[in-house]
Symmetry: C2
């Protein structure tokens, strides 16, 4: 059973509501009535050893950073501002207090960079290392952006570039395999520093949330790409009851991502559509914003919303294919053992 | 290293603050500026298999219930009202979706009983089963109760009765051992139903928070007894810079708890002082509230606050002993294997 189905099945067992709550389970964050001006946002994310990170190549500072970044990204996806975090740790006996301190140095970096505070937490004994980060944020009522707001003919946009985090993971996994067989060899990753940093130290796009305000573009629907572009498109499509027509040659990628696709004899498209852990934003915007958006270097218009619920990808020759509703989990498997 | 020390060491690595935050790590819940009338409260709690529950005798409904109850208890300890929860699950391969549904039935029961909503969450693959429950609550500004508010000569009160959850655990552990050796035997727990329910299905004392309002008693400091009475007294003492003088014959307990102490040839005092997982409240109140409080069947005045930082226990013969600063963790160990 996929995570999404399991969550839906479990959520159906719950009341899941409260008089102050506007949106419960189902979007990137839950939404509640804060005061006259603001809505409160609440989300939570877990990074678990073996599945979400491998201590061989994820240094503790990066694990802390990524866990907090990933939680903050859910607040950005609601067009909101992150405020404070609570961090729970599952600590196995083989992890030392010194190691955990380094992990907290990563959290500290996030506190400074994103102007948030870690204000609570919990430490438990556990069989493996895990971090759970809860985040409270807020957003002005008129700025809240759900997954369900897209309309036919609106623009579809992504930020940054795609597939880099997955490409970085492929390189790190290769280096780990080499290291296990030949411990004397030095890792050779100099040509892949960009994509490795995409994997190790992802940045939530709070800067995009701020930039959209500056250029007065109000996104109509939004999601983060933690599960990859295809999953994000299908989630917006399902919630908004629209389809999407996407142009392959509009999908942004870094040269190193293409290099990795060639190195592993994999289609670049797989990286762009299904590579997860991106924390880039996918959003729709009114057609009228086109001229404004195309001047933004960090925002790429990749297609438009259509009737129907299908996601169609068109290549430069005009061939079209249906994009399957696969998520990052189908590409990934465990990160380590 | 004890959990408390580890948390302090890790917290010292953090900024841990935010312009909206009034109280960060260190009390039962973090406190932030909600609006003119309310303060927001945020806390998080984890139950982890092997350490906090044993699937042999903790049915999934109870595990869900206890995880949520334990998080809500932190809000009660701030004299606040719980509002909504986010639930994260670590799911090992040996746990089925049906099992998780039962766990969510327990969460549903908490939603109904405590008028809260589970409005978000996260599901991860894991090596063992764990639940992490984050809770948002709020409290009127003038009602907030920290650990640090106790003054010399004030009354010290506990709610309900003490040591029952630990006594229930002893019985469940005995039954498990019997079952493993003689699977054909039927468990014999009829005489211990009260304390077993204290272990399996603890109730946070939201009723006490409401009752204190009704009888117009404002607690000056408060904590929940998840780590036991001794740890609670020392935490209030340290935060408030007072000591406590406690009368042994004022400590409330159930007859079944005494029975278990005798059965296991352990001093009853150990159950009362060090038994954890109680979720009763320990609070201080002005001397002037004495006549009001002594009429309350669920509230017991057990002593008074003193100068100095020591916790003194006086027995009916007038002998006094210092209560060590030991927590529940020193009594407990793992719940199962």
């Amino acid at each position: 059973m996929r995570e999404e189905e399991l969550i839906q099945r479990l959520a159906s067992r719950l009341k899941g509501s409260h008089s102050l709550v506007i949106e419960g389970i189902g979007d990137d964050a839950a939404v509640w009535e804060w005061d006259e001006k603001y809505l409160g946002l609440l989300s939570v994310d877990t990074l678990h050893e073996h599945w979400d990170f491998d201590r061989v190549y994820h240094a503790p500072q990066y694990i802390g950073y990524k866990a907090a970044a990933s939680a903050i990204s859910d607040i950005c996806a609601m067009n909101g501002e992150p405020l404070f975090l609570v961090v729970s740790l599952g600590v196995p006996s083989y992890v030392s207090p010194d190691y955990l301190e380094k992990l907290y140095e990563g959290l500290r970096k996030v506190e400074e960079k994103y102007n948030v505070g870690v204000i609570g937490g919990d430490v438990s004994s556990a069989n493996a290392l895990w971090l759970n980060v809860g985040v409270v944020g807020r957003v002005e009522k008129e700025k809240i952006t759900y997954r369900r707001g897209a309309s036919v003919n609106e623009l579809v946009c992504v930020t940054g570039d795609l597939g880099g985090a997955y490409a970085g993971l492929k390189i790190l996994q290769r280096e780990k395999a080499v290291f296990l067989q030949h411990p004397e060899m030095q890792p050779d990753v100099a040509e892949f520093t960009y994509i490795i940093s995409r994997q190790l130290k992802p940045e939530p796009r709070c800067d995009i949330v701020a930039r959209l305000r500056e250029i007065a573009v109000m996104p109509t629907s939004m999601i983060d790409l933690s599960d990859g572009l295809a999953a994000g498109l299908h989630a917006l499509a399902k919630a908004s009851k629209v389809g999407f027509h996407i142009y392959l040659d509009r999908l942004p990628f870094h040269a190193q991502t293409q290099q990795v696709a060639e190195l592993f004899h994999m289609p670049l498209t797989a990286f762009l559509l299904y590579g997860g852990e991106e924390y880039e934003l996918l959003f729709t915007a009114p057609l009228s914003a086109y001229e404004t958006l195309r001047r933004e270097t960090q925002i790429h218009v990749i297609g438009y919303a259509t009737e129907g619920l299908e996601v169609i990808l068109e290549d430069p020759e005009g061939n079209v294919m249906k994009v399957e509703r696969l998520g990052w989990d189908s590409l990934q498997g465990r990160q380590g053992g």
